[in-house]
Symmetry: C2
Subunit: 196 residues, 2 copies
Amino acid sequence: MRREGLSGNRRIRIGLVTSNKNKVDEILSIISGSPLEIYWLNIEKLEIQSSSLEEISLYAARHAFEIARKPLVVDDSGLFVEALNGFPGPYSSYVYKTLGIKGILKLLENEGNRRACFRTSAALILPPLEKVFTGETCGTITYSPRGSGGFGFDPIFVPDGENRTYAEMSVEEKNIISHRGKAFKALTDYVEGLLL
Amino acid sequence: MRREGLSGNRRIRIGLVTSNKNKVDEILSIISGSPLEIYWLNIEKLEIQSSSLEEISLYAARHAFEIARKPLVVDDSGLFVEALNGFPGPYSSYVYKTLGIKGILKLLENEGNRRACFRTSAALILPPLEKVFTGETCGTITYSPRGSGGFGFDPIFVPDGENRTYAEMSVEEKNIISHRGKAFKALTDYVEGLLL
């Protein structure tokens, strides 16, 4: 029976397509204990220009699947700063590399509105299924960087209900409340549901 | 004979794939008098994320050709500011929409190095030919916007050898010295060469 066939000790192996090794470590920590087994699928991640993370992650997942023909997930994340009309958004990685944290703080100089949200979209292709999971964590941008954990803009982002920046938390602490943690938790729950 | 067949009154019709109508007008002015006939090919322009304009324009042209199956050109342009490590580069359009001119000037506040270059890549698909043409115009970023012509960051860019910003010039004046003008001049010369 299908129910028996999918349950028990069965694990589902899914390749994570990313060029950022830090993400693999974060995600392995998020999914530990679940029937999901994630491994680093080191193939080209094609990212389109779009203001929608969902669109970017889904296009990349379909493109990667054309190459790999294996179950896989592609996630895309961004920091959306309210006073900057959502900038840097989907281009957070490029902006981090060019302007850096200094650039974001400069753009927010004399700006009272420090609201920002980190968002992740994770597009799963598990044939014949195709599904996008999202996670969002909102908070505020600090006036100077704090902490050395995480990556990217983590040192200037304090999630709501916290006093510490993402970069001042351990990977495990960050995963519980983070945008990426929420998206991959939803994905894990979904895959677990398939196994029931 | 081939020579006769392609010369004379023959014109080559090429579709321009763009979502920016301003570009069509600029380009029509650049190619006027040439055997090239450009018309607006209003189909999806798929842009990938890349730091290379050549890569973006060529990918977009190949994608558009898959849909249209007609000779076409896709161009991509960007403003590369030296003190900002090339930002906003290929994402100039997104940055213009979110941060605007104000954002670029803010990032360059107290910055002595005002060097910047505008670049265009124009990818032509004229089966069986496929070729990318580039144009570059360097200059300086002003301390405040001037002029109402052009579009995007034109009001804060003064090309070398000029006192006026792109936005203070007529379309014809701008085309003679502009990055886009140079790229499409090269493209036009190339197509004319095919007809000789």
